[in-house]
């Protein structure tokens, strides 16, 4: 049996992945006030990547995304922890977060919170781990 082609899937994937990614970012950023957050955002991004892996093969995707996802995960965790460590320098308890509202020129009243930094760490860790896991398994023969 000849290897079947995946034209339909590829085409749809190319449309779907950006949607998923956009949605993931939405989930990630709305997390502070709406359902979502770093973890879900990260996983959604990871699922977008998974869809890519599903539709194409590992090598093709790898060629385009040249990141060691283990390191991504480690950096994510480090980021989250170091956000907490940051509070040492302000003489606050570990993992103390702060937030304030700024009037930025374009966005208007914007909330900036260190918790977002923490969430970025979470998201990175989640992306890194899920992709590492999936890739490791599927690379095994």
């Amino acid at each position: 049996m000849k290897k079947p082609n995946d034209i339909i899937l590829h085409a749809v994937t190319k449309v779907a992945v950006p949607i998923i990614l956009a949605f993931s970012f939405h989930l990630f950023f709305s997390g502070h006030h709406n359902p979502g957050g770093g973890f879900i955002g990260g996983l959604a991004i990871a699922s977008a990547l998974t869809l890519l892996f599903l539709a194409f093969d590992i090598e093709t995707v790898r060629a385009n995304i040249g990141v060691d996802f283990k390191v991504v995960a480690a950096i994510g965790v480090l980021l989250a922890v170091l956000t907490g460590v940051g509070s040492f320098f302000f003489d606050a308890s570990f993992l103390s977060h702060t937030f304030d509202y700024f009037n930025l020129p374009i966005f208007g009243k914007t909330e900036l919170a260190t918790a977002v930094l923490f969430d970025v760490g979470v998201a990175l860790a989640v992306i890194g781990t899920s992709v590492t896991t999936i890739l490791s398994i599927s690379e095994d023969r």
């Binding site: 949607i19 359902p35 699922s47 093969d57 999936i134 599927s138 690379e139």
Partner: protein
């Protein structure tokens, strides 16, 4: 009145999920089951939407899209597995 209609449609949806579940159990072939799973996902999606209307809250709207995405990914993965035995392919080593 509105509530009643919504409740009954919700129940109808759950009922159809249960019916679809029969297909999951019965099979007979794997694609049948996957198809049923996909259908359940779609039904669930509708169910969440109705529930959101019922509660008059927009808190669950993210879930709707997410179910859509995930059930698609899941279905593709299953289909891949059934078709080729592997979920994620590697380039054949020439």
């Amino acid at each position: 009145m509105v509530e009643l209609v919504l409740m009954s449609s919700l129940f109808l949806l759950i009922l159809s999920i249960l019916l679809t579940l029969y297909r999951v159990i019965k099979g007979p072939s794997m694609p049948d089951r996957v198809q049923a799973l996909d259908a359940i996902g779609i039904n669930l999606l509708a169910g969440v939407a109705i529930f959101a209307v019922l509660l008059r809250t927009s808190a669950f709207l993210e879930i709707i899209l997410l179910i859509g995405i995930l059930s698609f990914i899941g279905t593709v993965a299953f289909a891949r597995f059934i078709e080729r035995g592997v979920v994620i392919e590697r380039k054949p080593v020439d």
